[in-house]
Symmetry: C2
Subunit: 318 residues, 2 copies
């Protein structure tokens, strides 16, 4: 069922994704492809550098995701999608296998790094999930970086909003008029550190032209992100289906209760559950307690990368 | 480990809870206890009436939850807890075993019935989760009932806010200063209809004195609410832990992958996972595909009720 690249098994401590909302092969010029590959390499280097420097898996996934948030190429942080009002609101979540601690934010505007804010929710509050202006107020009280609308703006996402509105014109629901690439932009990372702690992080700007207030799976612990002693998982795809199938936790559950290994659990979630419910609905990256990585998707492509045992980086798109 | 009432097994189509944030036995006067029992009976009658009238399990759980939302006794809808700003914001979610469809709202103010809004998110949009003003905008566009602050206000919840603030004064984190009853108020229902469809619904005002923007498990599909062909689950308790353990979905997962029956799955989630991570962290009501009900909690009490095979109602608190 899966293609050559979607279940690569290697031993390493870090894997990342930049979403399944890839450009069509034909639309991806050599220059644009090179830019994507370069930023994926940069994210791997940031995460790998954190791990090599003695950082935790939490440090590694935040470092990797921050690079992708700051890149205008990905639908997270800078370069996020616009909602139906032409406003950018972002969602993110993070989780550690240590005590299964977790933090998440949804519907935040102006915060430069939503994943950093999610980590602060986890570490600096007794809460797991803050939304909207309340989450922004926490970011301000912690003196996190805010940026103006111009920082987050990209001409490409603005054009995608206009195109999504045009396709949806006159239709009773907007989502039906979306292309897969409109709803599948997300970035994420999973890692294991030398102490054996696993972590997962996910960050997104949500769907293009999304309904005001719409939240997908990215900030939902158990849906877009999960981490336990068995695995760490970060998802990307059609968020509503990942929520309804508790996709990220389901990888853990299949390992814990059904005795699956990581590869079997990941394939079952992406193909047997999600693809069966909604064809080509997305993908995920995951890592197990032995540092084995899975990168699996039912879409034509997923921006992704991983470090192998020797620390060498690998990136792929289709 | 569990007390007499926490794993009652009966055959019926409906079970409800009014939260584990029960008053202490000593503080519950006969008059107050009678009022709680009366409103639980009323909720069972509303849900049971829907089922007897040919309604779906979704109709039944919404009818039951609306009674509890409208009652000032419970921390949901009217009578909700105040956040740290003295504002009431509410969360709710609903799910059906049919296609595992789901809807949720978080951080909504002024909406009389958050569970009704969650159902409309599920049925009238292609989304699963809407938050804040965007969710309120949907409610207005659907002409759902809004009420002013006076409708939602109760002197009791206002006094609880002041008490929570007093206990939390000068402490770096507020949550540590909370009593279990401050963080465990939630209402919910599970049902199965004559067609065999299962549904679950959960609604809450959140913790007393909660941080601006804080969201617990109630609106998180997989944490506070889940429904599949195997079971429907509605949780109440310390939301952060229910999120981190994907509590509602975990009941389903233990049944599907580990072959547990509903009783074993529910006990494992409440005691082995949640109580082990955070003692006395909460409870849940659940129903399986044969209409068997479980009502389980690690707290001193949980407002709860169920219908038996003959349609007779039962309510209990401790």
């Amino acid at each position: 069922m899966s293609n050559d690249m979607d279940s690569t098994q290697i031993d390493c401590g870090l894997a990342i994704h930049g979403g399944v909302g890839t450009l069509a092969r034909g639309a991806l010029t050599p220059e644009v492809e090179a830019a994507y590959r370069e930023s994926l390499e940069e994210a791997l280097e940031a995460g790998g550098s954190a791990l090599r420097g003695g950082g935790t898996s939490l440090d590694a996934v935040v470092a990797a995701v921050r690079v992708l948030e700051d890149s205008p190429l990905y639908n997270a942080g800078r370069g996020s999608n616009y909602d139906e009002r032409g406003v950018i609101t972002m969602d993110a979540s993070i989780m550690s296998s240590h005590l299964r601690d977790a933090g998440a934010v949804a519907g935040v505007a102006g915060v430069r790094s939503p994943i950093e804010l999610a980590r602060r929710v986890m570490e600096d509050t007794e809460h797991a999930f803050l939304i909207g202006e309340g989450a922004e107020a926490l970011a301000r009280s912690l003196a996190l970086d805010f940026e103006d609308a111009e920082f987050f703006h990209t001409d490409r996402r603005w054009a995608e909003l206009q195109a999504a509105k045009a396709r949806g014109a006159g239709r009773p629901n907007v989502l039906g008029a979306l292309e897969p690439e409109d709803r599948s932009g997300t970035v994420g990372a999973v890692a294991i550190d030398s102490a054996g702690a696993l972590a997962a992080a996910t960050s997104t700007g949500g769907m293009a032209n999304k309904t005001w207030g719409r939240v997908g799976d990215s900030p939902v612990i158990g849906a877009g992100t999960y981490a336990s002693h068995l695995c760490a998982v970060s998802c990307t795809g059609w968020g509503e289906y990942f929520i309804r199938h508790a996709a990220a936790y389901d990888v853990h559950a299949r390992m814990e209760y059904a005795g699956c290994d990581l590869g079997d659990a990941v394939k079952a979630v992406i193909w047997d559950s999600l693809h069966a419910a909604a064809p080509r609905s997305g993908g995920l990256v995951a890592i197990d307690g032995a540092g084995r990585v899975e990168l699996c998707f039912s879409t034509p492509g997923m921006y992704r990368g991983w470090l192998d045992l020797s620390g060498r980086s690998h990136v792929a798109i289709f």
